[in-house]
Structure formats: C-alpha cells, structure tokens
C-alpha cells in the first residue's frame, strides 16, 4: 500500500494541471493514467486537430495564391506527411507532460484506476496491481464521443475522431453527423483538403451553441465553399455495401439518400464514469457525468471530479482551471468558484469562431436589457490587406451598467483575440473603458473596438 496526500486519476489538461498545482503546494502527489500522457486534448483532440487544420489553411492559401500574383502550377499533396506532422506534435507534447511530472516530483502510475473505498484506489499496472491511498482523490477521467445506435465506429466506413485524424487516404465523399465544434472543424478541414463534404445537424442551425448570427454567417461561408449543410436533419440508417455506404436521412417530411465513402460521427460526448469504482463509494452521477459542487467536490468525502467527466462545458481550459481551484480549495486557499459565463469557447473552422458569455438571444431570454454592437470585418483595413475579411465581431452589453455580457466573433484569428474580451469581463470593465482603450492600427482587433463603439452608437468606420 502506498500513501499520498493527493492522487489524480487522468492526465488530461484537467488532471495534469491539478497534479502540478498540488505538488507546488507541497502535497505528495500521484497521477494515474491508463493511456498516453496528456489525455484526449493532447493526443486525440485540441492539439492534433489544430495541426491538421493548419494544413487545411495552407491548402486554402495556396488556392488563393494567384490573387497575390503567384502562379504555382500543379500542386501535389501528400496526406501522409500532414498526418505525420499532427502525430509528431501530439507525441512531443505528451513527452512534455512526462517531463513536467518528473520536474514536480509527481509519481506516475500507468494503468486503469478504480476507487475501491473512500480514499483508496486500486491501480492495475501491466504486471501487477497496487493499492494507493490518499485523503484526497481527484477524478479527471474525461469523456468520449457519444455513439449513435446503429452507427458504431468500425474504423473503415464509419470513423470516430481517431480515424478522422489519421486518414490513410482522402475520402472523396464524406458525411459528418453533428455540426457542433468538432463537426464543423472536420467539415472545414476535409473541404479544404478536397473532399466533398455533407454536414448534417439535427437542430435548425449549425454551431447551435453560438450566437444565431454566427451560425448563419458560418453556414453562408460553408455554402460558398460547396459544403452541403443539412439542418433539421437526422440520420435514419446506413447501408454498408463494400467500400461505400448509403445513408438515409430524414429532413422534415422528406427522405434523402446519399452515397458516401466515409462517415464521421460527432454528436456530443459522454463522461468516462464506468469502471472507475463510483458505485463502490456511492458517488452520484447525473446524465452520464459525475455530480459536483462549485469546488468540484462529489457527494463522497475526499472524492472530487474535474473537467469533462464533471459535465459541461467540455473544454480543456475549463478542466485546467477547475483542477487548480479544486486543489487550492483543499489546501485552504480562499478561492472563488469558476464563473461559467467567463469561459471562452473557440472553434477552429475557417473562418474561426470565438465567443465568451451570453449570446444576444440568451441575454434576451434572461430578460436582460442589452445594447448590442456589431462590426463587419469588411470595413477593417488589416482584414482586407490580408485578403481575409469575411466575418464580424458582435458585443452584448448591459444597457444600464455597460457590463460586457458576451462577445461573439467569426473571422481570421479571432481565437487569439477573444482573450481581450475575457480580460475585460474578469476586470468588470464596461463599454466605456473599452471605448477609451487605444487599439493599435492596423490590426484585425480594431474591429473589437469598433464593435464596442457600435454598441454605444458611435462606430467610426461603418
């Protein structure tokens, strides 16, 4: 039996960050991981997809090269090299986590962990099993893609995210089920690489978590790129015949059939709550996720859950921050709970989407009096200069206090710009402070400023 002050199960961005913070505070800390260090984010999520999307961006840039005077002639593309780039980035970062664990004196166990009693963890290593004890155990086991009945991933025709990230060859015709962040990223990626993409969404708009205007803009952009978007549509069945599949889709009263080479399923995720011993201690779950309070405490004393397994939003940066708050709370540091409306979300399709806080619709549903600002990038000098002026920045302020309720951006590199609005929210800046902040020229970020001015009715360039 081995004793620690604190054990973390899962080495994703929630788990490894929690472990480092605990070690920093002086806890003797252990981390248990059953697969690759870094979890889904590093190995099969955020990072490798961004590496692939960079390839898609290069493809797009090359396709536009003639506009800037370059005639490139016939361009060859080696899909294998792009996949290798993506995998090597993931591998490098995963090794980086190993280094961080060593640096912080965190003991790492590689194997499946299960809570066998309060404060007791059983870990199945490759050759034997060990019992670990700690007064504080943090579960950060993450989540996985939800499976659709009848559409189980077979690795051949039906792809999960892993297959979608390591294609051997480019599918000629690709069907993507689900138009959330993951679905639209794959749609954008494969369209730029040359696939014929059909994107299916059950509700009435794509990226339904975003502001409705953002959804509409992205859908229009996708239409221009000849991505076929079917909203209010559900998949009825697939018929796998040899190398192709015939999908039957239901759109309202209409039934459509579609022959495709591959199908990617991206219809939401479900928490990894099985086989980790929750039932042994009576830990409560709710709709596939572990129930926790504002500081990630479960109903079981000494047991905590952070990140995806503890429920939405399913974002790496939310997991990391939850991990830090959870550990600091245990250490007796006075911390404030995470505010959900201050967690930004980014989607890396082309054009990129970034948002934080309430959408205009949600703010109005809550009965808030808002003043909304909007600025189109087509009036932004820098965006025009780089030949990428599709998009806009929308800001939602409280009409009375000027508090920033939300910001919604679609356009080039908006995922880098959203932090500006995040800082403004955290510092409780109002529209007036933002209006009197000097934004550098020329920059795409000037559109943020103009959007704020627009909310005050004083936009300069539109």
């Amino acid at each position: 039996m081995t004793n620690f002050d604190l054990i973390v199960v899962g080495s994703g961005p929630g788990g490894y960050v929690a472990a480092i913070r605990a070690a920093q505070l002086g806890f003797s800390t252990a981390l248990v991981e059953k697969a690759d260090m870094g979890g889904v984010c590093l190995n099969w999520g955020c990072i490798p997809t961004k590496a692939l999307l960079r390839g898609a961006e290069v493809a797009h840039t090359l396709s536009e090269a003639s506009h800037f005077g370059f005639n490139l002639g016939n361009i060859e593309f080696d899909l294998g090299k792009l996949v290798d780039h993506s995998r090597s980035v993931a591998g490098k970062l995963s090794q980086g986590i190993d280094y961080l664990m060593k640096k912080n004196n965190i003991t790492v166990f590689k194997g499946n962990a299960s809570v066998v009693d309060k404060g007791v963890l059983q870990v199945e290593l490759s050759s034997n099993s060990v019992t670990l004890t700690a007064p504080h155990i943090i579960l950060a086991t993450g989540a996985r893609a939800r499976a659709l009945p009848g559409l189980e991933v077979d690795g051949q025709t039906v792809w999960g995210v892993r297959e979608a990230m390591t294609p051997k060859m480019l599918p000629k015709r690709l069907l993507i089920i689900g138009a959330g962040a993951i679905g639209v990223e794959f749609a954008s990626l494969y369209n730029d690489l040359g696939s014929e993409v059909t994107l299916v969404e059950a509700v009435d708009r794509i990226v339904p978590a975003e502001d409705a205007e953002v959804s509409a803009h992205l859908q229009a952009q996708f239409a221009k790129r000849k991505i076929s978007v079917l909203t209010n549509t559900t998949l009825q069945s697939i018929d796998r015949t040899g190398t192709e599949a015939i999908a039957t889709l239901q759109q309202g009263e209409e039934t459509l059939t579609l022959a495709v080479d591959n199908i990617i399923v991206a219809v939401g995720i479900t928490g990894n709550i099985e086989n980790i011993g929750l039932e042994n201690v009576g830990a409560q779950t709710e709709r596939g996720f572990i129930t926790t309070d504002a500081f990630s405490r479960t109903n079981v004393v000494g047991l905590y859950a952070i990140g995806d397994v503890a429920g939405p939003p399913w974002l790496a940066h939310k997991a990391s921050h939850e991990g830090i708050l959870c550990v600091e709370k245990i250490a007796g540091i006075d911390v404030q709970p995470l505010k959900a409306e201050r967690i930004p979300g980014c989607t890396y399709c082309r054009p990129q989407i970034a948002s934080v806080g309430l959408s205009e619709q949600k703010a109005k549903q809550q009965g808030l009096a808002v003043s909304v600002g909007k600025f189109n990038l087509s009036a932004n000098g820098k965006a025009l200069a780089i030949g990428d002026s599709d998009g806009f920045i929308k800001t939602v302020f409280d009409k009375n206090t000027g508090e920033l309720w939300g910001a919604h951006m679609i356009g080039p590199e908006v995922t880098e710009q959203i932090q500006g609005f995040g800082i403004a929210q955290q510092l409780e800046a109002t529209a007036h402070e933002l209006a009197h902040t000097v934004f550098a020229h020329p920059s795409v970020s000037e559109a943020m400023h103009e959007s704020v001015l627009s909310s005050l009715g004083i936009a300069l360039h539109q």
Partner: protein, 502 residues
C-alpha cells in the same frame, strides 16, 4: 527624545525566547517607511515578518541572516540619514549591555522597535526636500491617517487600485477619484500615498506563499531588462532582490547579489580535510529547536507519571463501519479517540488544565491538540471545542488541519494552545508507547494500534481487538487517582461508543 530607534526581536508567543534571522528586505542605507516589511524571522514553528513601526534610514544591521537572537535583542538600527555614524555606534554600544525585556508582550502585538515619542507636528516643519527622520515621522502620521476609515469594499476602484491600496494599507475612503466614472485609479492611490509623504515602492510580499519563490509572479516588480533576463537565467525571483537601481528599479547588481546569497545559503559548511567519518552537518531548524527545548524543559520540570489501560474496540469498529457506510463520512479510529477524550475531559475536568506559573487554568471547553508528523518535525493542530462537535465535524476538521499542516499552511492560532494532546502512532504498528507532555498542557495520551489479542472473560479465553492507551500526566497538577479516573472514563466511552451520544 531619540531619533535613533532599534529594531528588536519581537515576542510572538508565550514560549518564544529567540528567533532566527531569515531574510532582510533592506540593506544598510535603504529608507524604510513605517509599516514596511523589514526582516523575516523564523520562530518556533512559523516564519513571520517584522514590520517597521517607525520610518527612517536603515543605518546598521546587527543580526545577520542565519543568526539566532533573543527576544528583545537588537536586530538593526533605524535613524535619520544625517545622524552621525559615531552617534549610531554609541547607541548600539549603549544598548548592547541592556538585558532583553522580560515582560511578556501579548502575542498579537505588532513586533518591533523601542517606542520613541512622536515629535509634535509643528516642530517637524522642515523643508520637504530634506529627508529626515522627523519628516518621515510626519509622513507616517499622515500615512496612518490614510489607513483610517470604515470598510472600503464598496468604494468604486479599479482592481489594480484596490490591490495597491491593500499593499500600502490605504483605506480607499481617503483617496480622491479621477478615474472613469468616478472610480479610483492606480494613479489616485499613488498620488495619495506620495502626498502623504509615503515612498512608492515595488511590492514585496510579507509572507512567502510557498517554498520556492521563483514561482511567484514578479512581473509587476520594476526592473531593468538586463536584470529581468539575468534573474530568469539564474532562477532568481525579482521579489528577492533589492531595488537599488535608477528609479528604484531592480538592477543587474541586485540580481547578482541575490544569487550570491542563495549560493551561500545552499552551500554546506566545508568540513576540515582530516575529518574522519563523512556526515552531513545540518543546523537545527527553528522548529527542531523548539521541539528540543520545549520537550527537554517538559521532562526536566514536569514530574511525569504514566497510567496505562487496554480498551476493546470491536464495538467501536462496528459503529465506525456503520457510520462510514454513508458517503459523506470517512471517520478514523483516531476521530473516535478525539471524541471520546472530549467526552471524558468533560466528566473529569481536572485533567483539562494548563499550568502557568502558580496558576492552574481549568478550561470550560476542550481544545484537543493532535500531533501530526510533517517533513520538518511535528506540529499539533488543535480541534477546537471538540466537546461541542459531533464525530463527523471532528473528522472533517481533523482531516483539513492535517492536510494544511503538511502544506505548512496553518495559522498560529490553529496550533498554539490546546488543553490536552493526543499522539497516535497506531498507524505505524506501534503497540504501546509513552509521550512527553507538551507544556503548558498537563497531560498527553499516547495511542497504540488496535490488534487482535487473546483476552480472558469469565474464565474463558477469547479474541478481541484491543488498543493500548497510555496517559502521561504532570503530577504537579494531576494526581494518580484523577488520571486513573480519567482513563477509566475514557475506556468506557471507547468500549461503548453509543454512550458518547449522551
């Protein structure tokens, strides 16, 4: 009416007799404002910071880093910049022979300097350009006026302004607002401090948050670009550096000095070449010295006697299992012992005592110290008013205290005091042991491990889970019969845990 002031070793606790100098925040020649953190002192079980109650120039450092000095001993000298060196030396010489104050100061009194009379404001009217102890005194008076006022949490201020105000101890009610929407800005706070004669300084933390200061964000500290890069290169936090450069910025020389000091602290004293056997020489830490002196004093002054009893804990273990079947409970055997001790002390209050001089203090509530082993030694966090707490409350409080004890995050009032102490070595498989009383407490309970042993009942041999308890008592205040009565009472509670509900 002296304008030369000694910075003295403070007395932070009843039994504090000396302290080890850890780190000076200033070097000789630096100007110090009243309220500035001056020097870190490692005392019994914590590192605390001495703050200046007077303003002036640091003219001499008498106590160097690593040295041990008695309470009341002179650590350094504050004076006017133009006081002559001869006067300073004379002052030091005059104080050198004087004994340390024997009068105990209350532990919550801010440390420091021998009181000097404040000059009347009128008498201090000097030109503002002349830096003198008198004008600094005036400044500190004005500064202290800035600190007055009601709760300022509702005053409109930018986050930076609020944080700065906290650093300077300024109440925001006393600051004029010129920021957006009438908010107090950073500039407003700085202007208020400056106009009250305060010196604007780069932030220095009064207490380290953790062990490695290189983790502290030092990006707000003013430094030259070279100093910042050099600090990164050498792994030095700018927080640990003097700021002797232009416009009070940390400069290259300051970083090099901090690095040299760190190297000196990390290097072990060299052994003579002809030393026969290799060993590691480690100076005793403040905590080690405290443990050593207190327990030696206890053994020498308190006549210990021990009473021993075996308890059957099968009922207790069954009750524990029932309680722990609930998800919100993870009650240990030791939590039961704490609860039982609290109950027994209420029944035999003659054991719930401290001895101070010729006075026996018998407490109304039971504050039970629980010994926790930590890397540097041991510490005894207190489960306060355990008699008023249920078993779950005791269990949760104990776990939180033990967690924070290991992280060095206990507040002094969480481990100083206590009316009774429990030391449990059962988890190490120890069957039975004697413990030394932790003065001014008068008794300590040593708890062994629960193990199956043969017992004879009604002439029959049977097996029971048995735990051995040993009470060490100070015979000056607790007599044998009282100790025996207490143990009998404790045994009854432990063997029939349901009776603790009564």
């Amino acid at each position: 009416m002296s304008s030369i002031v000694a910075i003295q070793m403070p007395k932070w606790g009843m039994e504090m007799s000396e302290g080890v100098i850890n780190d000076w925040y200033f070097t000789v020649g630096d100007s110090i404002n009243a309220g500035d953190d001056v020097v870190d002192v490692e005392t019994s079980k914590i590192v605390n910071t001495v703050t200046a109650t007077h303003s002036g120039v640091l003219r001499a450092i008498i106590a160097n880093n690593g040295e041990t000095h008695p309470v009341g001993g002179m650590l350094g000298v504050l004076a006017d910049a133009d006081t002559s060196d001869a006067d300073i030396q004379a002052f030091i010489a005059s104080k050198a022979g004087s004994p340390a104050p024997t009068e105990a100061t209350p532990s919550d009194v801010a440390p420091v300097a021998a009181p000097t009379q404040e000059e009347p404001a009128a008498a201090t009217a000097k030109s503002a350009e002349v830096v003198s102890i008198k004008s600094n005194n005036l400044a500190s008076t004005n500064l202290s006026a800035l600190t007055q006022g009601e709760d300022d949490s509702l005053v409109a201020a930018s986050p930076v302004a609020r944080r700065l105000a906290q650093q300077y101890g300024v109440n925001l009610h006393n600051v004029g607002a010129t920021g957006h929407h009438g908010r107090i800005s950073k500039a407003d706070v700085e202007a208020a401090v400056s106009s009250a004669g305060g010196k604007l300084h780069s932030a220095k933390p009064s207490q380290g948050d953790g062990k490695s200061r290189t983790n502290i964000d030092d990006s707000l500290i003013k430094a030259t670009p070279v100093a910042r890069r050099l600090a990164t290169e050498l792994g030095i936090s700018l927080v640990d550096c003097r700021s002797s450069g232009d416009r009070q910025r940390v400069c290259k020389a300051d970083v090099e000095a901090a690095a040299a000091l760190q190297r000196k602290l990390e290097t072990f004293p060299e052994l003579p070449a002809n030393e026969p056997a290799p060993f590691n020489a480690t100076p005793m830490s403040g905590m080690r010295k405290t443990i050593a002196s207190r327990l030696q004093q206890s053994k020498q002054t308190a006549p210990h006697f021990r009473v021993h009893v075996d308890c059957e804990i099968d009922n207790l273990l069954a009750t524990r299992k029932q309680i722990n079947s609930a998800s919100n409970a993870i009650v240990s055997v030791n939590d039961f012992v704490i609860k039982a001790v609290a109950c027994a002390l209420m029944q035999v209050p003659a054991v719930n005592v401290q001895l101070e001089g010729d006075t026996i203090k018998q407490f109304t509530d039971t504050d039970i110290s629980v010994a926790v082993a930590i890397d540097e030694g041991l510490i005894t966090p207190i489960v306060k008013q355990a008699n008023r707490k249920g078993l779950l409350d005791i269990s949760n409080a104990t776990r939180d205290l033990a967690t924070r004890a290991k992280l060095n995050r206990l507040q002094p009032d969480e481990f100083q005091g206590g009316s009774f102490c429990i030391s449990n070595l059962g988890m190490f498989g120890v069957k039975q042991f004697d413990a030394i009383i932790n003065p001014p407490q008068a008794a300590i309970l040593a708890v062994g491990s629960g193990e199956q042993r043969p017992v004879v009942k009604n002439g029959e041999l049977s097996v029971a889970t048995v735990m051995s308890l040993t009470l060490s008592s100070d015979h000056r205040v607790i007599d044998g019969a009282v100790a025996a009565q207490f143990l009998a009472c404790l045994k009854a509670f432990i063997e029939q845990p349901a009776t603790m509900l009564g």
